[in-house]
């Protein structure tokens, strides 16, 4: 409802396809401070379409910060300057009239740019497929209250489970490491009694696939935690390390 608009110079990474060379293109926009960042891009796109020019390709879905689809690097920070929100929750009132805003895709060897700001993040699914689950078939289940789980433990598991799989941790890490993502799932399941039977092989298999996909390794800069829209703690990475070390020391499986 605020009528005053702010004027920005937006520099957006445009790249027609994975194999083509990209570059920054400048867009000038006058936008309401109540708009979200993605709505600002919508407006640029609407103008482009009116001029019969190709709109900027970027992904978003729920626009409530939970689906993990959106993810842009804004002025060098994944999901922009405000902590603990996804790109879709960033609003233009956080920018000043006359600002220059740089918009880039998430960058990692494991996240190829597909077009403009869209990257391929299926690697994260492959890591989950390697073991990010409890192997229980539909129906082969005890009563939900058969296993008591302490409120504290359940709550820590929930903290880890809150991960939205957006990949901002990879984008923020100078090594493009996926450790925070992997550790969140490993932690959630390692903390719960249901996750115990597969605890050893789960961590081994998930780390194996993570390494194969070309993510970097963790050097404990904790940039991932600082940029995570859900504030997932690096304590989970510590837990992942512990789980991995113990799994390798204790398990008798020489193949893993």
């Amino acid at each position: 409802m605020a009528e005053k608009k702010i004027n920005l110079l937006v520099k957006v990474w445009r790249q027609p396809s994975t194999t083509s060379v990209g570059s920054f293109v400048d867009y000038k926009i006058s936008v309401s401070p109540d708009s979200s960042f993605l709505e600002m891009l919508d407006e640029i796109n609407n103008d482009l379409e009116k001029k019969n020019l190709e709109p900027i390709a970027f992904e978003s879905d729920c626009r409530e910060g939970i689906c993990g689809t959106c993810g842009l690097v804004i002025n060098g920070q994944p999901h922009g300057p405000i902590p603990k929100i996804a790109t879709c929750q960033l609003h233009m009132r956080n920018f000043k009239d006359g600002d220059t805003v740089w918009v880039e895709p998430f960058r990692a060897k494991a996240f190829q740019v597909m077009k403009d700001l869209i990257v391929e993040r299926s690697g994260l699914d492959k890591i989950i497929a390697a073991g990010g689950y409890i192997s229980v078939n539909t129906g082969s289940i005890p009563d939900a209250n058969a296993i008591p789980i302490s409120k504290e433990r359940s709550s820590i598991a929930m903290d880890a489970a809150a991960c939205i799989g957006c990949g901002a941790c990879v984008a923020a890490c100078k090594n493009a490491s996926a450790m925070l993502f992997v550790s969140a799932k490993v932690s959630q399941l390692a903390l719960l009694p249901q996750g115990q039977p597969e605890r050893t092989r789960r961590v081994q298999n998930m780390v194996k696939v993570m390494d194969e996909l070309g993510f970097g390794s963790c050097s404990n800069t904790y940039a991932c935690e600082a940029e995570c829209p859900k504030g997932i703690s690096v304590k989970n990475i510590a837990r992942l390390n512990r789980e991995f070390i113990l799994a390798n020391v204790k398990s008798d499986n020489i193949e893993a």
């Binding site: 923020a172 100078k174 090594n175 050097s219 800069t221």
Partner: protein, 220 residues
């Protein structure tokens, strides 16, 4: 032993190698420092200490070989991680926002490490070489040699800078090793961080105090 090789070769395994070798070097630095601080007790004490170490040479040699291996593992593995991590992000960002999400020290381990490596080479080629393979071996005037070295302002300044950078490297490395081992929880990790900070300051200050001392007293 394939499994061990595979485990240590994984991304976490490589970090564990960094942490184990790093902690070992942290312990070594304590011993080294204790030894150096005897300089403050005067020439006779220091020379006696070094001489006594000289008398158990075979044992020292074994320790040195182990230490060398630890250093080589730490350095080789560190460079390898740095290189692999660089490949994991082939295209850099146009705007680097890392200063907003992480500390400079945590991001520059390869740089501080490289400087420490250069220092190490010079340090070995001067002190270690002289203590082991020069006339000192006969005269046992280690103290005098040391005082002489540090009377050179340029060498002392280089030494002090290297020690400060060592402090930077240790500050991140200390707590990082604990994180890698998985020892990070609400209760103790703040303590680990504080301890790491104190330790790194102690190392930088205590090691630097020696050239400063010799500069001030002019080697006498």
């Amino acid at each position: 032993m394939n499994w061990l090789f595979r485990s240590l070769n994984s991304s976490i395994g490589k970090k564990v190698i960094m942490a184990i070798t790093g902690i070992s070097l942290i312990l070594f630095l304590l011993v080294h420092l204790a030894n150096n601080l005897t300089l403050f007790a005067g020439p006779s004490t220091f020379n006696t200490v070094v001489k006594s170490l000289d008398s158990i040479k075979p044992f020292i040699r074994v320790i040195e070989v182990i230490l060398a291996l630890i250093f080589i593992f730490h350095i080789f593995n560190g460079v390898r991680l740095w290189y692999e991590n660089k490949i994991a992000r082939p295209t850099p960002y146009a705007v680097n926002g890392s200063s907003k999400n992480s500390t400079l020290l945590s991001r520059t381990m390869i740089h501080t490490g490289s400087i420490i490596f250069i220092f190490l080479v010079i340090h070995l080629s001067t002190f270690w070489n002289a203590f082991n393979f020069s006339d000192l071996h006969r005269t046992h005037s280690y103290y005098e040699f040391t005082a002489d070295m540090f009377s050179n302002v340029y060498y002392s300044i280089f030494y002090i800078i290297a020690m400060i950078i060592l402090g930077f490297h240790l500050n991140h490395g200390f707590q990082s090793a604990f994180q890698t081992f998985g020892w990070n929880n609400n209760k103790y990790f703040p303590l680990v961080k504080a301890l790491g900070f104190l330790y790194s300051v102690l190392m930088a200050v205590a090691f630097s105090s020696i050239p400063i001392y010799f500069l001030l007293i002019g080697g006498n």
